[in-house]
Protein backbone atom coordinates (compact mmCIF):
# COMPACT_ATOMS: atom_id res chain seq x y z
CA UNK A 1 0.00 0.00 0.00
CA UNK A 2 2.77 2.40 0.95
CA UNK A 3 4.66 1.48 -2.21
CA UNK A 4 1.57 2.03 -4.33
CA UNK A 5 0.77 5.41 -2.78
CA UNK A 6 4.39 6.35 -3.30
CA UNK A 7 4.13 5.37 -6.96
CA UNK A 8 1.09 7.62 -7.38
CA UNK A 9 2.78 10.50 -5.57
CA UNK A 10 5.94 10.06 -7.61
CA UNK A 11 3.89 10.13 -10.78
CA UNK A 12 2.07 13.32 -9.77
CA UNK A 13 5.41 14.82 -8.84
CA UNK A 14 6.89 13.80 -12.19
CA UNK A 15 3.98 15.30 -14.09
CA UNK A 16 4.46 18.49 -12.10
CA UNK A 17 8.17 18.60 -12.84
CA UNK A 18 7.70 18.06 -16.56
CA UNK A 19 4.75 20.46 -16.83
CA UNK A 20 6.51 23.22 -14.91
CA UNK A 21 9.66 23.21 -16.98
CA UNK A 22 11.92 22.02 -14.18
CA UNK A 23 13.15 19.27 -16.51
CA UNK A 24 14.33 21.90 -18.96
CA UNK A 25 17.85 22.95 -17.99
CA UNK A 26 17.53 26.09 -20.12
CA UNK A 27 14.57 27.17 -18.03
CA UNK A 28 16.35 26.39 -14.77
CA UNK A 29 19.42 28.34 -15.80
CA UNK A 30 17.20 31.17 -16.97
CA UNK A 31 15.61 31.20 -13.52
CA UNK A 32 19.03 31.40 -11.88
CA UNK A 33 20.21 34.08 -14.31
CA UNK A 34 18.78 36.85 -12.16
CA UNK A 35 21.45 39.31 -13.26
CA UNK A 36 21.08 38.50 -16.94
CA UNK A 37 18.06 37.38 -18.92
CA UNK A 38 15.92 36.42 -15.96
CA UNK A 39 13.14 33.91 -16.53
CA UNK A 40 11.12 34.11 -13.31
CA UNK A 41 8.56 31.47 -14.21
CA UNK A 42 10.04 28.85 -11.90
CA UNK A 43 9.46 31.23 -8.99
CA UNK A 44 5.78 30.50 -9.42
CA UNK A 45 6.41 26.78 -9.57
CA UNK A 46 8.28 26.69 -6.28
CA UNK A 47 6.03 29.33 -4.81
CA UNK A 48 2.97 27.32 -5.72
CA UNK A 49 4.38 24.09 -4.31
CA UNK A 50 5.49 25.75 -1.07
CA UNK A 51 2.15 27.48 -0.63
CA UNK A 52 0.38 24.13 -0.89
CA UNK A 53 2.71 22.46 1.60
CA UNK A 54 2.76 25.40 4.01
CA UNK A 55 -1.02 25.47 4.17
CA UNK A 56 -1.57 21.71 4.25
CA UNK A 57 1.25 20.52 6.49
CA UNK A 58 -0.10 22.54 9.38
CA UNK A 59 -3.10 20.24 9.39
CA UNK A 60 -1.40 17.01 8.37
CA UNK A 61 1.22 17.28 11.10
CA UNK A 62 -1.40 17.64 13.82
CA UNK A 63 -2.61 14.14 13.06
CA UNK A 64 -1.58 11.43 15.51
CA UNK A 65 -0.08 9.44 12.71
CA UNK A 66 -0.18 9.15 8.94
CA UNK A 67 -3.08 7.16 7.56
CA UNK A 68 -1.04 4.17 6.41
CA UNK A 69 1.98 4.18 8.71
CA UNK A 70 2.74 4.03 12.40
CA UNK A 71 4.45 7.37 12.54
CA UNK A 72 5.69 10.29 10.47
CA UNK A 73 9.17 9.62 9.12
CA UNK A 74 10.62 13.05 9.78
CA UNK A 75 14.25 14.12 10.02
CA UNK A 76 15.50 14.68 13.55
CA UNK A 77 18.24 17.24 12.95
CA UNK A 78 17.45 20.79 13.95
CA UNK A 79 20.77 22.60 14.04
CA UNK A 80 22.00 24.70 11.17
CA UNK A 81 25.58 23.51 10.91
CA UNK A 82 28.57 23.86 8.61
CA UNK A 83 27.73 20.62 6.86
CA UNK A 84 24.32 21.91 5.87
CA UNK A 85 25.70 25.21 4.62
CA UNK A 86 28.63 23.74 2.71
CA UNK A 87 26.32 21.18 1.17
CA UNK A 88 23.82 23.82 0.12
CA UNK A 89 26.51 25.98 -1.47
CA UNK A 90 27.95 23.05 -3.44
CA UNK A 91 24.49 22.01 -4.53
CA UNK A 92 23.67 25.52 -5.72
CA UNK A 93 26.87 25.72 -7.76
CA UNK A 94 26.30 22.33 -9.33
CA UNK A 95 22.69 23.20 -10.08
CA UNK A 96 23.72 26.29 -11.98
CA UNK A 97 26.43 24.50 -13.94
CA UNK A 98 24.33 21.54 -15.02
CA UNK A 99 20.85 23.04 -14.96
CA UNK A 100 19.52 19.97 -13.19
CA UNK A 101 18.69 19.02 -9.64
CA UNK A 102 17.96 15.43 -8.55
CA UNK A 103 14.22 15.27 -9.17
CA UNK A 104 14.11 16.56 -12.73
CA UNK A 105 17.23 14.59 -13.60
CA UNK A 106 15.61 11.32 -12.62
CA UNK A 107 12.33 12.25 -14.26
CA UNK A 108 14.28 13.06 -17.44
CA UNK A 109 15.16 9.41 -17.82
CA UNK A 110 11.76 9.30 -19.51
CA UNK A 111 13.17 11.43 -22.32
CA UNK A 112 15.51 8.60 -23.31
CA UNK A 113 18.41 10.95 -23.87
CA UNK A 114 21.60 9.22 -22.72
CA UNK A 115 23.24 12.54 -21.75
CA UNK A 116 21.29 12.63 -18.49
CA UNK A 117 23.06 9.40 -17.58
CA UNK A 118 26.27 11.38 -17.24
CA UNK A 119 24.65 13.73 -14.76
CA UNK A 120 23.08 10.88 -12.81
CA UNK A 121 26.22 8.79 -12.56
CA UNK A 122 28.16 11.86 -11.43
CA UNK A 123 25.40 12.73 -8.98
CA UNK A 124 25.32 9.32 -7.33
CA UNK A 125 29.10 9.33 -7.40
CA UNK A 126 29.12 12.67 -5.61
CA UNK A 127 26.62 11.41 -3.08
CA UNK A 128 28.71 8.33 -2.45
CA UNK A 129 31.76 10.54 -2.00
CA UNK A 130 29.76 12.59 0.46
CA UNK A 131 28.83 9.48 2.36
CA UNK A 132 32.49 8.51 2.68
CA UNK A 133 33.47 12.02 3.76
CA UNK A 134 30.77 12.07 6.40
CA UNK A 135 32.03 8.83 7.89
CA UNK A 136 35.49 10.31 8.28
CA UNK A 137 34.30 13.42 10.15
Amino acid sequence: MVAFISLVCGTLFGIGLAASGMTDPAKVQGFLDVFGHWDPSLVFVMGGAVTVTLLSFRFVLTLQKPVFADSFHLPEATKVDARLLVGAVLFGIGWAIAGFCPGPAIASIAYLNPDIGIFLVAMFGGAYLGQILLKKV
Partner: protein, 133 residues
Protein backbone atom coordinates in the same frame (compact mmCIF):
# COMPACT_ATOMS: atom_id res chain seq x y z
CA UNK B 1 0.95 19.12 -8.58
CA UNK B 2 4.33 18.99 -6.84
CA UNK B 3 2.93 20.41 -3.63
CA UNK B 4 -0.07 18.11 -3.65
CA UNK B 5 2.14 15.08 -4.18
CA UNK B 6 4.24 16.07 -1.16
CA UNK B 7 1.16 16.57 0.98
CA UNK B 8 -0.30 13.18 0.07
CA UNK B 9 3.03 11.46 0.66
CA UNK B 10 3.22 12.97 4.13
CA UNK B 11 -0.43 12.43 4.98
CA UNK B 12 -0.87 8.83 3.91
CA UNK B 13 2.42 7.00 4.42
CA UNK B 14 4.09 9.77 6.44
CA UNK B 15 7.14 10.21 4.22
CA UNK B 16 9.08 13.22 3.05
CA UNK B 17 8.97 13.87 -0.68
CA UNK B 18 12.61 14.84 -0.90
CA UNK B 19 14.01 13.30 -4.05
CA UNK B 20 17.62 13.08 -3.01
CA UNK B 21 16.74 11.60 0.37
CA UNK B 22 14.61 9.06 -1.40
CA UNK B 23 17.21 8.30 -4.07
CA UNK B 24 20.23 8.13 -1.74
CA UNK B 25 18.21 6.15 0.78
CA UNK B 26 17.53 3.60 -1.92
CA UNK B 27 21.16 3.69 -3.07
CA UNK B 28 22.61 3.07 0.37
CA UNK B 29 20.15 0.30 1.08
CA UNK B 30 20.92 -1.46 -2.18
CA UNK B 31 24.68 -1.03 -1.86
CA UNK B 32 24.55 -2.04 1.79
CA UNK B 33 22.65 -5.18 0.96
CA UNK B 34 19.72 -4.10 3.09
CA UNK B 35 16.70 -5.13 1.13
CA UNK B 36 14.18 -4.18 3.80
CA UNK B 37 11.06 -4.49 1.71
CA UNK B 38 9.01 -1.54 2.78
CA UNK B 39 11.78 1.03 3.11
CA UNK B 40 13.31 0.16 -0.23
CA UNK B 41 10.17 -0.42 -2.24
CA UNK B 42 8.42 2.88 -1.51
CA UNK B 43 11.57 4.71 -2.52
CA UNK B 44 11.91 2.83 -5.78
CA UNK B 45 8.27 3.24 -6.69
CA UNK B 46 8.44 6.99 -6.02
CA UNK B 47 11.45 7.33 -8.33
CA UNK B 48 9.75 5.17 -10.93
CA UNK B 49 6.73 7.42 -10.61
CA UNK B 50 8.87 10.47 -11.41
CA UNK B 51 9.89 8.90 -14.70
CA UNK B 52 6.34 7.74 -15.48
CA UNK B 53 4.93 11.14 -14.64
CA UNK B 54 7.27 12.94 -17.00
CA UNK B 55 6.48 10.43 -19.73
CA UNK B 56 2.72 10.71 -19.18
CA UNK B 57 2.87 14.50 -19.27
CA UNK B 58 4.58 14.65 -22.63
CA UNK B 59 2.53 11.86 -24.15
CA UNK B 60 -0.78 13.39 -23.10
CA UNK B 61 0.00 17.06 -23.70
CA UNK B 62 2.17 16.62 -26.74
CA UNK B 63 4.57 19.18 -25.30
CA UNK B 64 8.02 19.07 -26.80
CA UNK B 65 10.70 17.26 -24.87
CA UNK B 66 13.33 19.76 -23.74
CA UNK B 67 16.51 18.38 -25.26
CA UNK B 68 19.22 20.94 -24.76
CA UNK B 69 22.80 20.92 -25.84
CA UNK B 70 24.48 20.96 -22.47
CA UNK B 71 28.20 20.48 -22.40
CA UNK B 72 28.99 16.99 -21.09
CA UNK B 73 31.71 18.29 -18.81
CA UNK B 74 29.19 20.70 -17.30
CA UNK B 75 26.78 17.82 -16.76
CA UNK B 76 29.45 15.72 -15.07
CA UNK B 77 30.88 18.51 -12.92
CA UNK B 78 27.47 19.83 -12.04
CA UNK B 79 26.25 16.33 -11.27
CA UNK B 80 29.16 15.66 -8.95
CA UNK B 81 28.58 18.91 -7.06
CA UNK B 82 24.84 18.31 -6.87
CA UNK B 83 25.37 14.81 -5.53
CA UNK B 84 28.01 15.84 -3.00
CA UNK B 85 26.15 18.98 -2.00
CA UNK B 86 22.77 17.37 -1.54
CA UNK B 87 24.28 14.51 0.42
CA UNK B 88 26.17 16.82 2.80
CA UNK B 89 23.30 19.26 2.93
CA UNK B 90 20.76 16.49 3.50
CA UNK B 91 18.37 17.74 0.88
CA UNK B 92 17.60 19.44 -2.40
CA UNK B 93 14.93 21.64 -3.94
CA UNK B 94 12.13 19.21 -3.09
CA UNK B 95 13.28 18.05 0.33
CA UNK B 96 14.35 21.42 1.66
CA UNK B 97 12.55 23.77 -0.66
CA UNK B 98 9.09 22.28 -0.89
CA UNK B 99 8.76 19.97 2.11
CA UNK B 100 11.21 21.60 4.50
CA UNK B 101 9.82 25.09 4.17
CA UNK B 102 6.33 23.61 4.34
CA UNK B 103 7.27 22.18 7.74
CA UNK B 104 8.72 25.55 8.74
CA UNK B 105 12.05 23.88 9.32
CA UNK B 106 14.71 26.47 10.04
CA UNK B 107 17.36 24.17 8.60
CA UNK B 108 15.45 23.91 5.35
CA UNK B 109 14.69 27.60 5.11
CA UNK B 110 18.38 28.40 5.58
CA UNK B 111 19.47 25.63 3.22
CA UNK B 112 17.06 26.76 0.51
CA UNK B 113 18.15 30.40 0.74
CA UNK B 114 21.77 29.26 0.64
CA UNK B 115 21.51 27.08 -2.42
CA UNK B 116 19.42 29.67 -4.22
CA UNK B 117 22.00 32.36 -3.56
CA UNK B 118 24.81 29.99 -4.51
CA UNK B 119 23.03 29.04 -7.70
CA UNK B 120 22.26 32.61 -8.70
CA UNK B 121 25.78 33.78 -7.90
CA UNK B 122 27.33 30.87 -9.78
CA UNK B 123 25.14 31.58 -12.76
CA UNK B 124 26.32 35.16 -12.75
CA UNK B 125 29.97 34.20 -12.47
CA UNK B 126 29.96 31.34 -14.96
CA UNK B 127 27.76 33.02 -17.54
CA UNK B 128 28.49 36.72 -17.30
CA UNK B 129 31.96 36.92 -15.85
CA UNK B 130 33.58 33.82 -17.31
CA UNK B 131 31.27 33.37 -20.29
CA UNK B 132 31.31 29.61 -19.83
CA UNK B 133 27.64 28.70 -19.65
Amino acid sequence: MIGTSAVILLWLPGRIAGVCGIAYGAMSRISGGNFDKEELSWRLTFLLGLILGAAIFHLVSGAEIPIRDINLIALATGGLLVGLGTKLGSGCTSGHGVVGIGRLSVRSIVATMTFMIAGITSMFVFRHVLGLI
